[in-house]
């Protein structure tokens, strides 16, 4: 490695890094409940997201029970089934994945990885969490109100979302829309913090091109979310008005249950445009932080610098930009001008290029690396395989002619679960196993972790591979019960039973993880400050878990990029970002 010196290489004295004014909590309540410390807020976000995620997991169990054993569980009637689908989808995509990646990992890692004391607007950051929490509570009230939660499907397409024969039309749809509006307000507050902290809060020497890819992923995803969520906001406000005061933004003149409704002249397609203008970037809002985190996990646990760092950054930005011009590929069957279909198919397929660059770079990082099969690494490897699988079926569905027959089949369900369900969740698990020692000071149990990984990883394949096949046979999604159909052989029913059994087992394996999380807080092996011998700044804090203000008296100064692993000639196989260069002699 060549040392190209810029500026003076001498370590800086403490006086040169001035102290930032920091909010100091005065009581237990302001320290742990209404805390303005990004680390506490991160834990609050993560806890709430995981808790509501568990609810969504149970909902998926119930759905699978119905699909695997139709008619056995009489309490799952068609209405209930639609409610399960809707709540499962919405919770997983918005309230779990988005909140956990950006609110959870974003809050914890941005200040620590960048060498800041906290977010730049801590008070707004605190509000962000509490509004998110309120959004979750409002969402959950849907289960207890008359009529239950909405059963409109997670896409909430009008007109059916607010017609009287859709379950949850009474209250469910209202609380869903209100909850989404709250979520977006809360997210915007957090998102402003993440963006401005990345731009303004970096430690001295931390140039943009020295940031770990985790931060690049979270940063790009946050910018995208800030631009995309307003579309859902507008859609939700307009639909709420349609439902509550009878405007006709999305509702056409319609006859429902033999009765002519007062709506006139609304455009359901308008909602689809607004929804997918948010909905497609949302896929990458979830995927980009996962890409970033996985890059760091692979590099750390293969003891090798990330291959093609610059290309990785450019690819993240390119994917972020492209994801805004592909939304109508979710609407091929809604009816559109053929040349629009061509345009959106082309942009969709172009995204495969930067994505493929990333996959190659991960694989090349592994090549001749010193791979440690730690639990975080297993999850990271599992992610690469799963993401490639899900991505390839995405290439099928991105083409109009292939999409039209496959649209609304279980193939689509299998595709998006692989690519934006299982893949990001694997990263979340990997990231939790990786950073848990920093958060608590204790390691998660390794054997339980490996058990959790193998059951989840293999189980996910046993669930979703057969589901592709069922979809290719033409079994439609969103059906409570398909009954006897000429084109569906009886083996489909057997496969469905198999999938259900596996899904129950995989779900139960998550309880092992939950147990591990709680048990290891006190009983886990003490971790020390830097158990993975990683280079990034969060592992170099003076205390573990990091104290209020993160860095003690002086802020760290950054001298190198985030991936100095196995540098030839160095004493250790990693050089922390804040380690000054050795002065050259002669």
């Amino acid at each position: 490695m060549v040392d190209v010196m810029h500026g003076t290489p001498e370590p800086l004295s403490a006086a040169e890094t001035d102290d930032v004014e920091l909010y100091h909590p005065k009581s237990w309540v302001t320290k742990y409940v209404f805390s303005q410390d990004a680390k506490i807020i991160a834990i609050q976000y993560a806890t709430v997201a995981l808790a509501i995620g568990l609810v969504a997991l149970v909902l998926s169990w119930l759905m699978r029970l119905q699909l695997g054993f139709p008619g056995v569980f009489s309490f799952i009637d068609p209405d209930r089934y639609y409610q399960l689908i809707t709540m499962h989808g919405m919770i997983m995509v918005v309230y779990l994945l988005t909140a956990l990646f950006l609110g959870g990992f974003g809050n914890y890692l941005i200040p620590l990885m960048l060498g800041a004391r906290d977010m730049v607007f801590p008070y707004v950051n605190m509000l962000s969490f509490w509004i998110y929490f309120l959004a979750v509570l409002v969402l959950v009230t849907g289960f207890f109100l008359p009529g239950g939660p909405t059963g409109a499907g997670w896409t909430l397409y009008p007109p059916q979302a607010i017609l009287s024969n859709t379950p949850g039309q009474q209250w469910g749809i209202i609380v869903m829309l209100v909850s989404l509006i709250l979520f977006i307000i809360g997210f915007t507050m957090g998102g402003l913090n993440y963006v401005v902290t990345v731009l303004q809060g970096r430690a001295r020497g931390m140039t943009l091109m020295r940031m770990p890819l985790t931060i690049w992923g979270i940063f790009t995803a946050t910018v995208m979310a800030l631009l995309a969520f307003p579309a859902l906001f507008v859609g939700a406000v307009m639909m709420l008005l349609d439902r509550l005061i009878g405007t006709s933004f999305f509702m056409p003149a319609i006859v429902a249950m033999g009765e002519r409704l007062a709506y006139k002249g609304g455009s359901p397609i308008l909602f689809q445009h607004l929804f997918w203008f948010f909905g497609h970037p949302e896929v990458y809002i979830v995927a980009l932080p996962a890409f970033g985190i996985v890059s760091d996990l692979i590099s750390t646990h293969a003891r090798k610098n990330i291959f093609g760092y610059r290309m990785m950054v450019w690819a993240l930005v390119a994917i972020g930009a492209l994801s805004f011009v592909v939304w109508a590929h979710h609407m091929y069957v809604s009816g559109m001008h053929p040349s629009f279909g061509f345009f959106f198919a082309t942009t969709t397929l172009i995204i495969a290029i930067p994505t493929a660059i990333k996959v190659y770079n991960w694989v090349l990082t592994l090549w001749r690396g010193d791979i440690h099969f730690t639990v975080p690494m297993l999850f990271a490897l599992g992610f690469i395989v799963t993401f490639v699988n899900g991505g390839l079926t995405g290439l099928f569905l991105g083409n109009v002619v292939v999409d039209v027959p496959l649209s609304d089949t279980m193939f689509v369900v299998a595709h998006f679960h692989m690519v934006m369900g299982v893949a990001p969740i694997l990263v979340i698990f990997g990231a939790i196993y990786h950073w848990y020692p920093k958060v608590t000071g204790h390691m998660l149990d390794d054997r339980l972790g490996k058990l959790h990984f193998w059951v989840t990883f293999l189980g996910a394949y046993l669930i979703f591979f057969p589901m592709h096949y069922i979809g290719l046979m033409g079994v439609p999604r969103r059906y409570h019960e398909i009954g006897e159909m000429a084109f569906v052989p009886p083996s489909a029913a057997t496969l469905n039973e198999f999938i259900t059994v596996v899904a129950l087992i995989v779900g139960a394996a998550q309880l092992v993880f939950l147990f591990n999380l709680i048990w290891s807080i006190r009983r886990g092996r003490p971790a020390g400050g830097n158990p993975w011998r990683a280079t990034t700044l969060e592992w170099q804090t003076p205390q573990t878990p990091p104290a209020h203000g993160n860095w003690g008296k002086t802020l760290p100064v950054v001298y190198r990029w985030a991936y100095d692993y196995s540098v030839p000639g160095a004493a250790e196989d990693f050089l922390p970002q804040n380690q000054p260069p050795t002065p050259r002699t002669g």
């Binding site: 402003l192 579309a231 405007t247 006709s248």
Partner: protein
């Protein structure tokens, strides 16, 4: 969705221009040592950047509303609304409020407490009067039988004015707090005391200029001055 795509192109262009100045072609693996800025960013720069980011988010919201509005206008059954004349009056009020805040910024920078107080007060009053005029427009339309549900044009009218008004209410909270601080200052303050308030006044002024800009766009859309422009854009896209 042409409007919002256009907006996204502008955002992407600005982001691309900014990124192009961030040494994205650097080879960080070859560079050891301290590089980059030496001075930490100042608090005013951080606050302005925070507000700027929020304004981009809000612009995205309005661009989407305008997109939806123009898509709906293109449908065959669109019936335009007669626009109440009071909207002209409210436009003038918002301009005055924006101007008053501009004067407040100048006064704060020159340490003229008296002028600062009076211009903050004027801005607040003009803004409240603006909201009252908007309410009056709502009432006139309702009285003429155009209440929201009857006609998509009026539904959109109520929606965009309400969202714009909600943004102004949020701004009024900040303006109120800034004014309270200005009026709490002693008669003859030191230069330092005003220094702290200057930033808040500047932020309010930026926000009000933004509200004015958005309102002018919305106003021209509601008054149907932009119909031809939209037609031309649609022609280009299809």
């Amino acid at each position: 969705m042409g409007v919002v795509l256009g907006f996204m192109v502008v955002v992407a262009a600005v982001a691309g221009w900014w990124l192009s100045r961030q040494r994205l072609t650097a080879k960080p693996w070859l560079e050891v040592g301290v590089i980059g800025d030496t001075a930490p960013p100042s608090a005013p720069a951080t606050a302005k950047l925070g507000l700027g980011t929020f304004l981009v988010v809000a612009s995205s919201l309005f661009a989407l509303l305008i997109s939806a509005y123009s898509m709906r206008m293109a449908m065959a059954d669109w019936r335009a609304l007669p626009m109440p004349a009071v909207l002209w009056f409210s436009t003038g009020l918002l301009m005055l409020a924006s101007l008053a805040l501009h004067i407040a910024v100048v006064a704060a920078r020159c340490d003229e407490l008296g002028h600062l107080r009076s211009s903050l007060l004027a801005a607040g009053l003009c803004s409240l009067a603006f909201l009252a005029a908007q309410l009056q427009a709502w009432r006139e339309l309702a009285a003429a039988g155009y209440f929201s549900a009857a006609n998509p044009a009026s539904a959109f009218f109520y929606l965009v004015t309400a969202i714009h008004g909600a943004h102004m209410l949020g701004g009024l909270v900040a303006l109120g707090r800034t004014s309270a601080r200005a009026f709490a200052l002693p008669r003859e303050p030191g230069a330092k005391a005003l220094g702290g308030i200057t930033l808040s006044v500047e932020l309010c002024a930026i926000y009000w200029h933004f509200l004015l800009l958005v309102w002018l766009v919305l106003f021209s859309l509601l008054m149907r001055w932009t119909d031809e422009l939209i037609e031309i854009c649609r022609g280009l896209l299809t």
